[in-house]
Point group: C2
Amino acid sequence: MTVSRVLRTPDKVRPETCRRVQAAIRKLGYVPDEAAGALSSRRSRIIGALVSTLGGSFFASTVDGLSQTLREQGYQLLLATTNYTPEIEADSIAAMLARRPDGLVLTSTQHTDMANRLLKRARIPIVELWELPEAPIDSAVGFSNRAAGNAMTEFLADAGHKGIGFIGRSSPFDRRGQLRRAGYKDALAARSLHAPRVASVAGLGDDPSAGASGLAHLLMRWEDTTAVFCASDSIALGALSEARRRGLRVPDDIAIAGFGDFEMASENGLALTTVRVPGFAIGEEAARLVLRRGNGEATHKRIVDLGFQIVRRMTA
Amino acid sequence: MTVSRVLRTPDKVRPETCRRVQAAIRKLGYVPDEAAGALSSRRSRIIGALVSTLGGSFFASTVDGLSQTLREQGYQLLLATTNYTPEIEADSIAAMLARRPDGLVLTSTQHTDMANRLLKRARIPIVELWELPEAPIDSAVGFSNRAAGNAMTEFLADAGHKGIGFIGRSSPFDRRGQLRRAGYKDALAARSLHAPRVASVAGLGDDPSAGASGLAHLLMRWEDTTAVFCASDSIALGALSEARRRGLRVPDDIAIAGFGDFEMASENGLALTTVRVPGFAIGEEAARLVLRRGNGEATHKRIVDLGFQIVRRMTA
DNA sequence: TTGAAAGCGTTACCAA
DNA sequence: TTGGTAACGCTTTCAA
C-alpha cells in the first residue's frame, strides 16, 4: 500500500496522507518487516563481516568503525567469528550468503577452496581488510604490514642499534604477522646488518607471555641484541616485563618496540614505541567502500591504503 | 518441495531421494534463502546484540562467546554498537526488531522509554548482560559489580591498608562502574575505615590517562592513601605508570588493584592484582539462555550469576 | 498521488 | 514418503 511509500519515499506522497499514515503507524506500534522487504526488493541492507576473533585488540575497533558507519547509512551488521579456522570461515560464509547480504567484509587472508568458490559466485562486493593483497578477491582496505615492519626496523637501525631481534607468533594462519617479519628481514638486508634474529612463539593469539619467553630466547641466543621489534603491543608488554625482571633498563639496555598502538601503549600507559595502524578507519572505509560498490560505482579504487605511523615514545 | 525437507529434516525423507536432492543442490550451487525461510516460518535464526563499544576490552570477549555459541547452534549474530548513547540504542533496537530476531541481548542498562516500549512489545527473549538487575526486562546473565567492588576493597583492607582510594569514570551512563564504587563504599563503611576517597575522571571509556590523573588527585588530597582500587585494568595501568613516575614502589608504597583481568594484567604482563570477570562465559551463557527461552522453556532461571574472582598478583 | 495485482523463495498444512 | 497449495509481508509495476 501507501504505507511502504511513506516509509521509503515520503516525498512521493501527499503530506497530509503521510501524516495520517504515520499516526496510524504509531498507534498500532507497527514495525515493518525488513526480511519481507528484503525478499521482495532483493536488497537486504545487511553487510556481513567475518573476523578471526574480537579479543586481542586488533579487530575490535575495526568492527566498531564498521558498525557505526553502516548504521549511519541504514545498514546492519551480521558478524561471525572464525576463531582462526578456515573451515569455520567457509561455513560462516555459506551461512551469511544464505541471508543475501549486500556485501561481505573479511579480515582473514586464507580461505578454503570452498570459501573462494562461494565468494566468487556470490556476485556481491567483497572487501578484504588489514592488508593490501596483490590479487584481491574484489577490493581491499588496509595498509602494508610488510612496509610497516620494514619502517619500524629502519627506525631502530637509525637509532643506532646493531643487533635487532623480532618476536612474533609462528602460526601459519597469521599471514599479517609473517609480513611484518618479512619487512623486518628486508630492512636488515638493506642495511647489511646481520642475519635475522627471530623468536617465533607457538600458539594463536598474541599474549604477553609470548613476549616474555621470546625476549629470553633472543637474549640467550644473541647476547648483543639491543633492540627487539614485537609483532604486537601485547607481545611487547611481555618483553617489557621480562626485561624488567632481568633488571634491564629500557630503552638503554634493551629497546622494545610494539605494533598496533593499543590503548595500553599510550603515553600514560606503557609509553610504548610502536606502529600505529588505523583500525577504526579501516572499518569506516570498508563500510563506505562496500556500499559504494554495491551501488554499482565500479569506478572506485579497489585497493585503499590507509597507511601506518611510527609512534616514538619511551621504550625505543 | 522436498528440497526444504532435505535441508531441515533429512530424516523425514528417503535416503535415496535425499542423495539425489543433495547432488542437485551441489550441481546447481543452490544456496537457500534464509530470509524467505524466516518470513514463512516466523523464525529468523538471528539473535541481535547491542553493545556500547567493542573497544575497551570489556565486551569483546563476550561478543566472541556469543558469536561462537550461536554459530554452533545454527544461529547468526546481528551486532550493533551504541557508543554509549541511549538514543542510538533505541534506534538500533527498532532496526533490529525489524529483522524479527528470535532474541535480543543487551549490555547497556539504561534504556530510553521508547526502547523499553519496543522491548516489551517485541515478545521475544531479552537477555541483559554484565549485571544482575533487580527487575530485569526478561532475564540476565552476569555477576554483581557491587559485590565485586566490595570484595576487592575487603581484600585490600585485609592486607592491612588503612587508606584506600577509588578511581573511576564519572559518566552517568557507566552504571556498572558506579556499582563497583558503591561496593567499595560498602566495604569502607563495614570496616569503619574512613570516608570514601574517590577520584572521578570525566569522559567515556576507560583509558590509562584516567588512572594517571586519578592517582595524582588521590595522593594530593589524601596523603596517607596506601592502596587504590581502579574501576578497570586500563585505569590501573595508568595509575601504575603514574606511581612509577613518582618513584613510588608498588605495592610497598602504593598498592594498585584493577578490574577485569584483561590480557595485559596477566602474570607475564603487568602482573596486576585484579578482579577476574567471566566475559566470554557471559556470552556463551547468554546465547544458551536466549535460545532456551526462545524454545519456550520458561522454567529456567531468569538471572544467572556467573560470579567473579579476586586474582592476587604483584601489585597489591 | 494512490491503489490493485503479482511476485520474491521459503515453510506449514493437507492430500495423495 | 512425497508433492501441491496457500500464506508470510513486503516492493515492483502498472493502472486509475
